[in-house]
Amino acid sequence: MTTSRYRVRERTIETADTVTLVLTPLDEPIADPLPGQFTMLYAFGVGEVPISVSGRTGAGDIVHTLRCVGAVTKALSTAQCGTTLGLRGPYGTEWGMPDGGDLIIMAGGIGLAPLRPVIRQAIEQRGRYGSVSVLIGARTPGDLLYVGEHDVWRDADIDVRVTVDQAATGWTGHVGVVTTVLDGVAADPAHSTAFLCGPEVMMRFAARALIDRGMAPDAIRVSLERNMRCGVGLCGHCQLGPVLLCRDGPVIGYDRAAPLLDIKEM
């Protein structure tokens, strides 16, 4: 539960409301986060929020991509290089890379951030997997994250498909919901693992589309978000039925998640 101090080493503006911060430790660094895990990021004097880890660079550096949606994330997302922030963790479950088979990675909006470590790991271990598909949905072309990396991923033999909900003419990419770019994905449903992250409704639709194609619910992993406070399963703020998402999640199998997502306003 001890907070370590980190300094903002780099700040990249991704979209109008989203930035990526590279944080370098000033104290003893936190343990190496696994893909899917989150940290509690503290803007001193403002508050603390859970943010998924979106990458690692160098010894002990942690990369977070965060969207400005409230007072704390506003303070964090406007933190300039040199600002000191607090960090504790890492917490929660990891995505858990399979030993082989095909991979389907589906992200909606900011949901691409927690999946970026999965994509990078898939690239590092590309030979272990059959087809690897990354399906990215966003509201508009201007809301897409990590645009500069998409071609790098494609060059690493990843099938990257991008779609947006709205676009002006001139946009030559796809327009439609993220499930529409599933058509033609090379993955064999019986030997695939899917990783989904985005708005809960999007994940529900995406999981159903994958199940319709023959995937087993327990081969689909989703990252859920609730009001995490302590990060270690003590306070109960992030309880979803029998699950404490900060401890038992955020990544859980869709076989466990589906019945919980059907419950209104938990």
Binding site: D17, R67, V69, G70, G108, G109, G137, A138, R139, D143, T163, D165, Q166, A167, A168, T169, W171, T172, G173, H174, V175, G176, V177, T179, T180, D183, G184, G198, P199, V201, M202, F205
Partner: protein, 154 residues
Amino acid sequence: MDTAHDLLAAQPFLAGLTSAHVDKLASWSKRKTFHAGARLFQEGGRADRFWLIREGHVTLDTQVPGRGNVIVETLGPRAVLGWSWLIPPYRWHFSASAVETTLAVELDGPGVRDLCAQDHDLGYELMSRFVPLVVNRMQNTRMRLLDLYAGPKP
């Protein structure tokens, strides 16, 4: 070169049709190539055909005052483009353009409607394919109406 029958029989949308039904449709079909930027149809125009896309992509768009042309959907290989030919008053609700060189099979709307009126089995087979297509696109539209990626309300 593939015949019209071969091209139609290879379309997933028509999978399961009898050879005789494919033959009937073939008499109202022809292969089409659209170059990048080509306008396939214009909003408000007479909807008298539809296409089964083989290769390439087509966008559906509409004019929104103050925002110019807005793309509402992209359709790619194996997709069906156009259902306004099925429903009176047979007018296009959106405009369509080829994003890149696009290969398609074009079918004549009034001709296929006549076929369906004469051969109810074929009509049933086609309707049982078009209805899920329309429902699926409606569900996708509903999902987009939710504006899932919007930020929380202030």
